[in-house]
C-alpha cells in the first residue's frame, strides 16, 4: 500500500495520492484501487483514509449549517437569500411569523427587506432543490450591528480551529462577538471599532496563512502587538 506524498504536502488535481487498500476521503476520487486528488490542497493520510484539505472552495450547502446571508428578493411566499453559494436559498414566510401567514394581510418587507443581512440555519437541501433556511432558533435572525468579513469557505475550519480553539482565542483576545457562517461570511460585533478592526485583521491573516503551522501562536502575538501600538 504505497503513498506518494508526505502528510500535509501541497497536491494538485490529478495527483496520484495512494494505491492499494485506501479509502477516498474529502476532495479525492478513486479509480480501481488508485486514489487521486481532485482539488488543489494539502494531502492528509489518516489511517486508511486519504483526503485533501482544499486551499480554495466555494460553499455547497449542507443541512444544519449556520450561514450568513443577504436578502435579495421578496416574493409571495418568502425571501430569496444570497448565501454565497452556487444556489440561492429560500426563507419561507411561515418560518418567520408565529401565527399562520396570510399573503393578503402580512407585509413581508416589514420584517426583512432587500439588503438586510441574516443569520440562518440550513434546514433542507439536496441536489434537486435549492436550500431552505430557518431563523427560528436562538441567536438567528436579522443582523443589526457590527461588521461582516468575507473569507474563502475553505478557510472556515481553520478560523474555527481544532475543537474551536482558534475562534475562542479570537473572541477572548479581541473582546468581540464573532459568529462564523459556514458559507465564508463572518459577523463581528465588538464594544468599540478598535476591537472590531483587530478582529478583522486577525481573520484576514488566518485566511492568508491558513496552510502554515503554528498559526494560533502567531495570531495571539499579532493581536497583542496591535493592542500595544495603540497605547
Amino acid at each position: 500500500m504505497p503513498v506518494f506524498f508526505e502528510n500535509r504536502e501541497i497536491v494538485t488535481p490529478g495527483d496520484l495520492l495512494a494505491e492499494g487498500g485506501f479509502d477516498a476521503g474529502r476532495n479525492t476520487y478513486k479509480i480501481d484501487s488508485k486514489i487521486y486528488a481532485c482539488k488543489l490542497g494539502l494531502v492528509e493520510y489518516k489511517g486508511r483514509t486519504v483526503s485533501v484539505v482544499a486551499l480554495n472552495t466555494f460553499y455547497v450547502p449542507s443541512v444544519g449549517d449556520l450561514v450568513i446571508g443577504k436578502i435579495v428578493e421578496i416574493n409571495l411566499h418568502g425571501w430569496i437569500v444570497d448565501i454565497n453559494s452556487p444556489y440561492s436559498a429560500t426563507l419561507r414566510a411561515s418560518e418567520v411569523f408565529n401565527k399562520p401567514y396570510k399573503p393578503q394581510k402580512d407585509e413581508l418587507s416589514e420584517f426583512l427587506s432587500i439588503g438586510d443581512l441574516i443569520q440562518a440555519k440550513v434546514i433542507a437541501y439536496d441536489r434537486t432543490r435549492d436550500p431552505l433556511l430557518t431563523i427560528r432558533e436562538p441567536g438567528l435572525g436579522k443582523i443589526t450591528h457590527g461588521q461582516i468579513v468575507k473569507v474563502s469557505p475553505a478557510k472556515i475550519p481553520r478560523i474555527i480551529g481544532r475543537k474551536g480553539s482558534m475562534i475562542s482565542m479570537l473572541k477572548k483576545e479581541t473582546h468581540c462577538n464573532i459568529t462564523v457562517g459556514q458559507n465564508g461570511l463572518i459577523h463581528i460585533y465588538g464594544r468599540n471599532p478598535e476591537d472590531e478592526r483587530i478582529a478583522v485583521l486577525a481573520i484576514k491573516k488566518i485566511e492568508l496563512e491558513a496552510h502554515t503551522s503554528g498559526l494560533t501562536d502567531r495570531i495571539t502575538e499579532m493581536i497583542s502587538k496591535e493592542r500595544g501600538s495603540d497605547k
Partner: protein
Amino acid sequence: MSKKIRLVDENGIRTDGRKPDELRPIKLEVGILNNADGSAYIEQGKNKILAAVYGPREVHPRHLALPDRALLRCRYHMAPFSVQERKSPAPSRREVELSKVIREALEPAIFLERFPRTSIDLFIEVLQADGGTRAAGVTVASLALADAGMPMRDLVAACAAGKADGYIVLDLNDIEDKEGEADVPVAYMPSLNAVGLLQMDGQLTPEEFEQAFNLAIEGCKRIYELQKQALKAKYLAIKEAVEEAVE
C-alpha cells in the same frame, strides 16, 4: 515549388532558435484577477493569454440550466490588438469553433455532475497571439479552474506538434503554423492518460502523424509539470515567508 521561408536550417534549428523537439519558454501565473473566482495567465513564446472563471453560479438565462449537471460555457476571444492586422472584436467563425473545442477538451476533466442547475463560465482572452493559442488556452483555462477550487479529475495540458520543412516539430509558432505542412494540436490529461482534443490541419502520412502525436503528448507532459508548479507557487511563497519570519 520553392519555399519563400526556411523554417528549419541545415543544423536542424528553427526560426526562433529552437530544436525540433523543444518547447517555447513558458511562464504561468495563477490567481491574478481579483474579481473572478479563479484566474490564470500564460506566456508561451510570444503568446499572452488570460483566463478567468466564474462559478458554479446560477444559470442566466434560466432555461439553459441542466437538471443533472453544471453547464460549462466557454468564450475564447482574441483582443483586437492581439494580431498584426486589427482583428474585429466580434466573435469570428474561428473563435466560435475554438470556444467549442476548448470547452469539450475541459468538460471531461471537471466533476460537472456535482453541481446540477448551475453554470461555470470560462473566459479566455488572447492578448497577443503567436500560433498555438488554442493549446495555450486550454492549458491556462485548466489552471484558472483549479484556482477557483473546482473539483477536477486532472489538469489538462495542451500542446501542438506538426511538420515544418519536412521535420516533425513541437509547439509550432505562428510562421511554422502558417508556412509549415501540418499542425496537430493535442489536449491531454496525463494522470488519466486521456486525450481531450485532437485536431489536424495539413497533410501527414500515418507514420508522421503518429510521430507528431507522440511528440505533442511529450510536450503536454512537460507543460503539466509547469502547471503543477504554478499552482503550488502562490501558497509555497506564503509558507516560506512565514517560516522565515518565525526563525
